[in-house]
Amino acid sequence: MKEKYKLKDWQDLPIGGVVAEGGNSADYETGTWRTSRPIWMEENCINCLNCWVFCPEDAFILKDGTTKTGKPRKEIESINYYHCKGCGLCAKECPVNKKGKKIAIDYIKEEH
């Protein structure tokens, strides 16, 4: 745990229970909740971004890329397993998976 999240004395807390740094839950690990994990298969991915838009943990990391015709676009780079809770929604909603010929997001039991 980062130093700034160590328990503080009452004198050292900001007023009124405010969390002064919005979005700092990114520092909190929820990856430990996983019992299964999605595996992104770049070679089969069509970059539709369905997994990205549906992911409740905002765990799909994007990068800048281009389409075949050279137009700039956002593409999947990786999965942030620090946050991924392993719900499997990405694999379930993946259109490549749905077609049934290839797998773009595999979903496997977590090994502990």
């Binding site: 807390l13 007023i15 969390v19």
Partner: protein, 393 residues
């Protein structure tokens, strides 16, 4: 220009709100505080203030909107009474715990049932643990002066707590009294600019207000809030001293009226203190050593200072204008606590009076002093607790 004028207590509060010119006023009408927001609405309509009003659909929403508006980053005021404040209940605590310096006029009125629109203190006394600073006033002038001081107390960075400025329903809110209305610019200058803390409208530094505390943080937040209320005592004294320097009227945490050599003392809150002073003056002319201790700040409660002020007093009659069923009156409990460590404890007893606006005449106050005279002579309190002026005894 400062001027003397004849005005109702409610009118005085709306005039003061006009002078303060808060950014936002969420309000909902309830007798007897309605005139405060009616008059203020007229000021808005006439362009005498640039306040944005929110004519909410309930008092719960009034206080919710007060908290939202204050957290957004500006000065917020409202007014209510009785059931209105009871409906705010949940939000009173939240306003205080979120440390929002909301200022509210509370025109004290009895709580239902039976429904009754007249003065007693069951509304504010019920809210005494809500975390609000509570200032009480004997008359229009004091209520007006308290309201001028309230934003400065509430917004002080060592305090940041909401303040309710209380006065008796009808007896003060609806009665015309003369008072000194201070110069607008002088009032504005006294109050100064609002400073915000982690304002919700700061999108550059997005803050999260109203997070969930679990067992690991709740007590620390409460402890910090306790400290703020403790600080409020000094800040009330400091702001009152500054007020006296500028406007000439001097206020303490409580008023000591002819206490110096008093043997028998009444302790009371709000308008009844006017009659008590009259009676004391009459009795003093006959050499009777009686006095009054009038509470101004009930939260924070000045225990030590009151104990010191009562040194040498032999009998204390505490008048409570509200009930705590199955217990003593709320003021009595505080006074007894204050006196527990006093080297020479006076006799202290409790009388409930004036519920739902029941009058207490000067003759009744004479009766109180006659009764506590007997207690002094016999050295014994006959009745610790009793009702005054109730049929059937």
């Amino acid at each position: 220009m400062s001027k003397i004028l004849a005005i109702t207590g409610a009118g005085a509060m709306s005039e003061c709100m006009r002078q303060i010119n808060p950014d936002v006023v969420p309000a909902f009408p309830i007798t007897p505080s309605t005139q405060v927001i009616e008059d203020f609405s007229q000021f808005v309509a006439d362009g005498k203030v640039d306040t944005e009003m929110i004519t909410v659909e309930s008092e719960h929403s009034a206080m919710s909107a007060c908290i939202g508006a204050a957290a957004a980053g500006g000065r917020v005021m409202t007014a209510t009474s009785s059931a209105g404040m009871a409906l705010m209940w949940e939000m009173l605590h939240i306003a205080a715990s979120m440390r929002q310096p909301v200022v509210m006029t509370l025109i004290n009125r009895a709580l239902s049932a039976p429904i009754n629109i007249h003065a007693d203190h069951s509304d504010s006394m019920g809210a005494r643990d809500a975390g609000w600073i509570q200032l009480y006033a004997e008359n229009n002038q004091e209520a007006y002066d308290n309201l001028i001081m309230a934003p400065k107390i509430a917004e002080n960075m060592d305090v940041r707590l909401p303040v309710m400025v209380c006065m008796d329903g009808f007896i003060i809110s609806h009665c015309v009294q003369t008072m000194q209305l201070e110069d607008d610019d002088k009032v504005k200058a006294f109050i100064g600019e609002f400073e915000s803390t982690y304002p919700v409208l700061d999108t550059e530094n997005p803050a999260t207000w109203g997070a969930l505390d679990l067992q690991d943080y709740y007590m620390e937040h409460k402890r910090a809030q306790h400290m703020a209320m403790k600080n409020a005592k000094d800040v009330i004294e400091k702001v009152s001293a500054d007020f006296a320097d500028i406007f000439g009227r001097k206020y303490e945490l409580f008023e000591s009226y002819r206490l110096d050599d008093a043997e028998r003392v009444i302790i009371a809150i709000n308008s009844v203190c006017g009659e008590i002073k009259e009676v004391i003056d009459e009795r003093r002319e006959n050499g009777d050593k009686v006095g009054l201790l009038k509470i101004r700040s009930f939260r924070p409660f000045p225990y030590k200072e009151i104990a010191q002020a009562l040194a040498g007093v032999k009998v204390v009659t505490v008048l409570d204008r509200s009930e705590s069923m199955g217990a003593y009156g709320p003021l009595f409990v505080e006074i007894r606590t204050a006196l527990f460590d006093a080297p020479e404890k006076p006799m202290v007893y409790n009388r409930i009076f004036g519920l739902g606006g029941r009058e207490l005449f000067m003759s009744d106050i004479h009766d109180i002093f006659e009764e506590n005279k007997t207690y002094l002579e016999t050295g014994k309190v006959e009745k610790m607790f009793d009702y005054l002026k109730v049929r059937g005894g």
